[in-house]
Structures are given as structure tokens and as C-alpha cells.
């Protein structure tokens, strides 16, 4: 009888307490209640617009400003004294570890560009090694400040993954590599073939799309990482391997330089792959800082400034003077006025970064889409004024 009463009593108390806890929602000061999906973000200073329809109202400027002030990623980075940069340590040419444990490559240099611009010290980077399928989660959770990890700018990543892609650092396209001895020259030759691919990438989706649209059935052999997919291909688990053409060129170069079988990259480019740094949505200030830091490397190239001559450069024309931070020109981005000088003197301009890391691996710069607009390429940055 006693036990029964105790159970009843405790049940009653639990119900009462839970009810109290749930009832507490009404005043939002105690319990952080989940805002309904239709509402504007909770931190908004301005009153949220009435949710007239099911569709979310577009973010207003007030929202963004309020958020950037609340988030304050730039202040956080300045306070911390280092930039947390999400990379992958197994992407030769883009980011890999040297025998001394240094990060080297195209992507890691852009991490340094951001650190040099914001903190004036290219060495103030904390590299965070991320698996392909974890990269956006790391960005969303705020674990990293910026993602520079060979990541393709797409609409769903911009939208659903809450990534904010800034200036594209490399215009790439997807290709397929096969051993030259197979004699395969087009995608039709890969009917029913095993194709090695990294999972959770646009590469995998593009392959599926293009094969479906042409009615070619194939078997994807998926690996967690592009580097694992390469091993699978080298070991003969697949007849073909697909990735961005820049990676394929590096891969082909490495295999052939190592005395392996001759490789053939199919001439078709099956997708557009604009690769660039991404930050988290909702912090415009930080996004602008990263954007302009990256663009400074391109502007410097256009001005003919490189790590060798920027120290002695003087602003003989006003545009150059502003870029060098003479007379304290400050466009209000939150960057120091000499940030471009720091970036170029400590890391280099775009051309130097590209030629150092990607050209030795069989990716020529001259005449490619990654050349300056004045040379017929796609690199074109807005004026710094």
C-alpha cells in the first residue's frame, strides 16, 4: 500500500513540476524557448514582422546587423589572436603536411592570407583538419571561423548549410580519370563501371546527374575522403576515379612521377566547381573581412605587386596609394589600413600562391580561367576605394 502511494505521489509531483517547467515558456526570460520556424531570429532588436504566410520572411538589414553585432566573429578572432581555419590535411597542392609538420598548399596559404589581413601575422592560424562530411557542421557550430577546404560554392550550401561563400579562389570543373591502357575515351565507355568517388561531395551528385541524364548506369564506390577514393582506385577497386580536374591533374602527375601506369583524364568537364572560402551566414562584417583579404591577393597581382616588391612600392597613383594604406585610407571594413601590405609581404599575391603550389603539379596558370581578367581569365575584383 505504501509503495503504491509513493508511486502515485511521485507521479503527481513529476506532472506538477513538468507542467510548471512547460508553463514557464510564456515569459521567455527563464527558459530559452525554441522560436517557431516562421519567426525572425530571436535576437532581433526590431520587432519581428508578423508571419503572415508560411514562408519565412527574408532577412532584413536590421536582422543582419543585429546578428553580426551579437555574433561578432571579427571581435572574437581579434580577441583570440588567431584564425581557426577548417582544412583537410590530405589534399596535395591544396593543403598537406610537410615532413616538418607545416601546412603547405593553396588552401592553407589563403588561411594565412586571412590571418595576415586581420591580425597582421600570417602565422596566427589554427588549422582544423576536417573530414568531408563534417566540414559544414564544423562551420555551423562555430568551431571554425572560416572553411578553406576545396569546397564548391552551390545554392544548397549557401542556403540549407548556412554557408556564406566569399570570393572564388579557384575556378575548377569535374573530370574523370581512367588508366590509359583501358582505351576508354568518354563517359559512355564507363557503362556499368565501378567509379571511385568521395561521399557527400558535389562530385558524387554531379556524377549521378550526368550519368542519369545520359542513361548510363554505373556503380559508385564511395569513400569517406577523396584521398581514400584515390587509394581505392590505385588498388584497382574501380575502373575510374572522379574528382575536380585540378585534383585529377595532381593525382595523374603523382602516379606517373612515381612510375605508375599512365593515366588518361577524359576531355569532358562534367560540372562547374567554383572553389572558395566560406564563412557562417549571419555575420556580414566577418564575411566582408574574409572577402577583401582574399581579393587583396588578386588586386596586388593586377597592380604588379608581389612579396618581393611591395615593401618598396609607393603610391604613385591614388588607387595604388589607397591599396597600400597610405594616408590612412579606411573603407570601414574592419581591417587595418595596411592589411594588403601585410597579406602580400607575408604570403604573396595570387599569382605567387598559385604558381608555388599548383603549377608544379601540372596545372598551368597562363591562359587558364584562373588568370587575371586582363589576360582573358575570370579573376576580376571590385575597386578598392
Amino acid at each position: 500500500m505504501t509503495i503504491r502511494r509513493t508511486v502515485l505521489l511521485s507521479a503527481a509531483v513529476v506532472v506538477a513540476l513538468v507542467a510548471a517547467a512547460c508553463g514557464g515558456d510564456d515569459d521567455a526570460t527563464t527558459t530559452p524557448a525554441p522560436p517557431p520556424a516562421t519567426d525572425a531570429p530571436a535576437d532581433t532588436a526590431a520587432p519581428a514582422p508578423p508571419p503572415a504566410t508560411e514562408a519565412e520572411p527574408p532577412p532584413t538589414t536590421e536582422d543582419t546587423v543585429a546578428l553580426s553585432q551579437a555574433g561578432g566573429r571579427l571581435a572574437e578572432v581579434l580577441d583570440r589572436g588567431s584564425v581557426r581555419c577548417g582544412v583537410r590535411d590530405a589534399l596535395p597542392g591544396f593543403n598537406f603536411l610537410t615532413p616538418d609538420g607545416e601546412h603547405e598548399g593553396f588552401d592553407s596559404d589563403f588561411c594565412r592570407v586571412i590571418a595576415a589581413a586581420v591580425l597582421g601575422d600570417a602565422g596566427a592560424v589554427d588549422f582544423v583538419d576536417l573530414a568531408t562530411s563534417d566540414r559544414f557542421t564544423a562551420l555551423q557550430s562555430g568551431e571554425i571561423d572560416v572553411l578553406v577546404r576545396n569546397t564548391t560554392f552551390t545554392a544548397s550550401r549557401d542556403g540549407k548549410e548556412a554557408a556564406n561563400f566569399v570570393y572564388t579562389t579557384l575556378y575548377d570543373g569535374q573530370g574523370v580519370v581512367v588508366p590509359a591502357s583501358t582505351g576508354i575515351t568518354d563517359l559512355e565507355g564507363l557503362e556499368d563501371a565501378n567509379i571511385c568517388v568521395a561521399q557527400g561531395t558535389t562530385t558524387e551528385l554531379n556524377l549521378t546527374d550526368v550519368m542519369r541524364s545520359r542513361g548510363i548506369s554505373f556503380n559508385p564506390v564511395t569513400f569517406g575522403e577523396s584521398s581514400e577514393a584515390r587509394v581505392g582506385y590505385t588498388a584497382g577497386q574501380c575502373e575510374a576515379f572522379t574528382s575536380d580536374k585540378s585534383s585529377l591533374a595532381v593525382f595523374k602527375f603523382e602516379i606517373e612521377a612515381g612510375g605508375g601506369d599512365e593515366q588518361f583524364i577524359l576531355p569532358e568537364t562534367i560540372s562547374k566547381e567554383p572553389l572558395g572560402p566560406a564563412v557562417l551566414d549571419g555575420d556580414t562584417e566577418w564575411a566582408q573581412v574574409v572577402q577583401w583579404a582574399v581579393m587583396a591577393t588578386i588586386q596586388a597581382w593586377e597592380f604588379g605587386l608581389d612579396s618581393g616588391n611591395i615593401a618598396s612600392a609607393t603610391g604613385d597613383n591614388p588607387a595604388l596609394g589607397r591599396f597600400l594604406g597610405e594616408e590612412g585610407f579606411d573603407p570601414g571594413l574592419g581591417l587595418p589600413s595596411d592589411f594588403a601590405v601585410q597579406v602580400v609581404s607575408q604570403v604573396g599575391n595570387y599569382e605567387e600562391i598559385y604558381r608555388q603550389h599548383l603549377e608544379p603539379l601540372g596545372l598551368p596558370l597562363d591562359g587558364s580561367v584562373n588568370d587575371l581578367w586582363t589576360n582573358g581569365g575570370l579573376l576580376y575584383v571590385p575597386p578598392y576605394r
Binding site: 509531483v13 513529476v14 530559452p32 522560436p35 519567426d39 548556412a162 548506369s217 556503380n219 577497386q237 551566414d281
Partner: protein, 395 residues
């Protein structure tokens, strides 16, 4: 006169208060975490609902030529569940058989047999399962001697042009059964056969109780079941026939037989052997837990070593082995998620791919956890029922 304490000082009341406070605290903490998650997701405009499950999948699934990438994501999850189930089921069966044999072998009086079993157990038990899986995948298949599709190794039947086995680094074809005719009717007869076998079992048991003659009910029941099935199979003109593995014209695809991938085999074999080493130890411990006098008494009754195991030691020992074995089964099923590293399309692997393709991570992981929870609870439930049925009943 006994001291009557106030109602608020009674143990029952106080413990109820504490329990209620704890439950409320846990609820509040959960609510706070949930609120945090939803708020952060909403702030970055990441969807917080489960609508993504009805969106098109967008990617092709390994070894599933029939899967249309425009099918919704919940269909993809089902394929993953099916693949996990396939790896778990075959793994559990293999692990049980190998584990039992090795466990008994470890106690063998034959020096060589006992040492070999010991090496097996120590080797697999002291290696992480992930390493074993990667070893099978790379050492046995990838860098092994097998050819690559389309130059697969076709093993022909003697004196025939059809294969019985197709071997390659990535895909292995084995014979399977293909439905020919009257399969529905055949299965109805099979069910009747089970009912008949149960009837025979009951009849033999009763007869044993009445006359005291040996019942041999397992033999009788299995025999009558086999008789029904064989007669039905022949009478229906062969409802199922062997389908031998054959390859398509370009040599890359299996058009008949059962195709299985190197990833599946690496995962299942590795997990089965790894778990078998643990089950072997469970079996050994359970046998050792049976008092030595039992075995000696059986020997005194002139039972052969096999009979001693079959009728005296194992029935008592395996009863003890059931609860720890349930644990091993649960571990095996959960470890199938390691198949991700070798590209096996289990539910974890597919979920990770889907998260990589801009589907919300918290909801996807919630679905994944739900799947494993259901798997584990069903296994626990079934085996606990079995455990209760074999427990020693005090009379």
C-alpha cells in the same frame, strides 16, 4: 507509544520528492539543449523539421543499380537499413557458429587444436574491429590477387559453360535461387510443413512421457518437415531453380546469381571473426562454469566425450552463455556502422553522405539513432524471450 513522524519527513515522501526533482531536472536540461539547438538552427536558417526525408536523394547507392536517385531520402534510409540488416544477420550467424566451435576447441585436450583456437581468439580479440575490417578490405581484396572488373575470374562448372563463382576485387558473384513457378503455393506448403513438424514434436513428446521410449523429437520433427518440403518441391515441378552468376556483355555487371561486394564481405567477415573471438571466450567461460563433477559423472556413466558435451555440459553451459552473448550480438550490429570506411552502403554511410549533401545533420542523426535503437531493442527483446525459455526452472 511509537513516535509518529510528520508526513513530510517520511522516507517515502522524501524519496518521491528527490526522484521528481531529478526527473524535472533532466527534463529541463533536455528542454534547454533542444531549445538551444532549434534557436541556433533557426538563426542560421537551417531547416528544423523532417521535411528533408521526402526530398529526392540525388546520389546513386553503391551496389544498387536499381535505385533511382530521384527517390525520396526515406527510401534511401530503408536501403541502408536493409544493408545493415544483411550485414548484421549474416555476421551474427557466422559469429555464433565460429564462436561456439572455437570456444569448445580452446578446451580441447588436443594441444594443437587448443593452441590454434587460442591464437585465433587472442589475435582477433586484441585488435580493434576497424583495423580488422580495413585489413580484409585492403589486404584481401584491394591489394589481393583478384582481377578487376571487367577481367573478373570466372570459375566454370566442370564440363559446362556456366560459372558457379565470379571473383573480382570489387564484386563477387555467387549462385542464387531464382523463382520459377508456383512460389506462393510452395510457401503455403512450407508453413503447413512447420505446423506438421510441430504436431510430430508434440506427439513424440507425449509418447515419450507415456512409454518412456527415447523421443528423438528433433530428428522426427526435422525429418517430417524435410519430407513435406521435398515432396512439395518435386510435385510443383521445382518452384525455385539455381541461378548461376553470369556477366553482362560488357563484362561489368552481374545479370544473374547473387552479386555481393568486396565491401560487404570485408565488413561481414571481419565483424563475424572479431565477434566470434569474444563469443568463444563466453562459451569457454560458460563451459568452465559447469562443475567438473558433472563431466566426471557423465564419464562414469560411460558417455563418450561428444555425448558428455552434447547432453551434459553444453545444455548447462550455454544457458549461462546467453546473456553475455546478447551483448556481443548488439555490439556486432552496432559495429556494422564501421562499414563506412570501406564504402559499404549501410545506414550510417548513406546518412553521412546525405548530410554531406546539404541535408540537416541533427535530424539525420536522430533518424540514424532511432534506426539503431530499434535494431538493438528488437534483438534484446527476442533474445531475452529466448533467455527466459532456457533458464533453469526450479521445480
Amino acid at each position: 507509544m511509537p513516535v509518529v513522524s510528520s508526513w513530510w519527513r517520511r522516507t517515502g515522501f522524501l524519496s518521491a520528492i528527490w526522484q521528481a526533482a531529478l526527473v524535472a531536472g533532466v527534463c529541463l536540461a533536455g528542454w534547454w539543449l533542444y531549445g538551444n539547438l532549434v534557436e541556433n538552427l533557426t538563426r542560421t536558417r537551417i531547416p528544423t523539421d523532417f521535411d528533408f526525408l521526402t526530398q529526392p536523394t540525388g546520389f546513386a547507392i553503391p551496389e544498387n543499380f536499381g535505385f533511382d536517385p530521384s527517390l525520396p531520402i526515406w527510401r534511401m534510409v530503408l536501403i541502408g537499413v536493409q544493408n545493415t540488416f544483411l550485414a548484421g544477420l549474416v555476421g551474427v550467424l557466422l559469429a555464433s557458429i565460429v564462436g561456439l566451435i572455437v570456444g569448445v576447441a580452446r578446451l580441447s585436450s588436443n594441444w594443437l587444436v587448443a593452441r590454434m583456437a587460442q591464437v585465433f581468439v587472442e589475435g582477433f580479440r586484441n585488435t580493434p574491429p576497424l583495423v580488422v575490417i580495413v585489413f580484409f578490405s585492403f589486404a584481401v581484396f584491394s591489394f589481393g590477387p583478384l582481377p578487376v572488373f571487367p577481367e573478373a575470374l570466372d570459375l566454370k562448372l566442370p564440363g559446362s559453360d556456366s560459372n558457379w563463382l565470379v571473383l573480382s576485387k570489387s564484386r563477387i558473384g555467387i549462385p542464387s535461387l531464382s523463382a520459377e513457378r508456383h512460389t506462393g503455393l510452395f510457401w503455403i506448403i512450407v508453413v503447413c510443413g512447420v505446423v506438421a513438424a510441430a504436431g510430430v514434436w508434440v506427439w513424440r513428446s507425449r509418447r515419450h512421457v507415456r512409454t518412456g521410449e527415447p523421443h528423438h523429437r528433433v530428428l522426427w520433427a526435422l525429418g517430417s518437415f524435410a519430407l513435406v518440403v521435398i515432396v512439395a518441391f518435386l510435385a510443383l515441378g521445382g518452384p525455385y531453380a539455381w541461378s548461376l552468376p553470369a556477366r553482362s556483355e560488357n563484362g561489368r555487371r552481374l545479370i544473374s546469381g547473387f552479386g555481393t561486394s568486396a565491401a560487404y564481405l570485408s565488413l561481414t567477415l571481419a565483424l563475424a571473426l572479431y565477434t566470434a573471438s569474444h563469443i568463444a571466450e563466453v562459451v569457454r567461460a560458460s563451459i568452465l562454469a559447469v562443475p567438473k563433477g558433472q563431466s566426471e559423472a557423465a564419464g562414469a556413466l560411460a558417455l563418450s566425450p561428444f555425448q558428455r558435451y552434447r547432453h551434459v555440459v553444453l545444455p548447462q553451459g550455454l544457458r549461462i552463455a546467453v546473456p553475455p552473448t546478447i551483448n556481443q550480438y548488439l555490439n556486432l550490429v552496432k559495429n556494422t556502422s564501421l562499414g563506412t570506411v570501406v564504402g559499404y552502403a549501410d545506414v550510417t554511410n548513406l546518412t553521412r553522405t546525405s548530410i554531406g549533401n546539404a541535408n540537416p545533420a541533427p535530424q539525420s542523426i536522430a533518424v540514424l539513432m532511432g534506426v539503431y535503437l530499434v535494431f538493438s531493442l528488437v534483438i534484446s527483446l527476442l533474445l531475452n524471450i529466448y533467455n527466459r525459455s532456457v533458464q533453469l526452472r526450479e521445480r
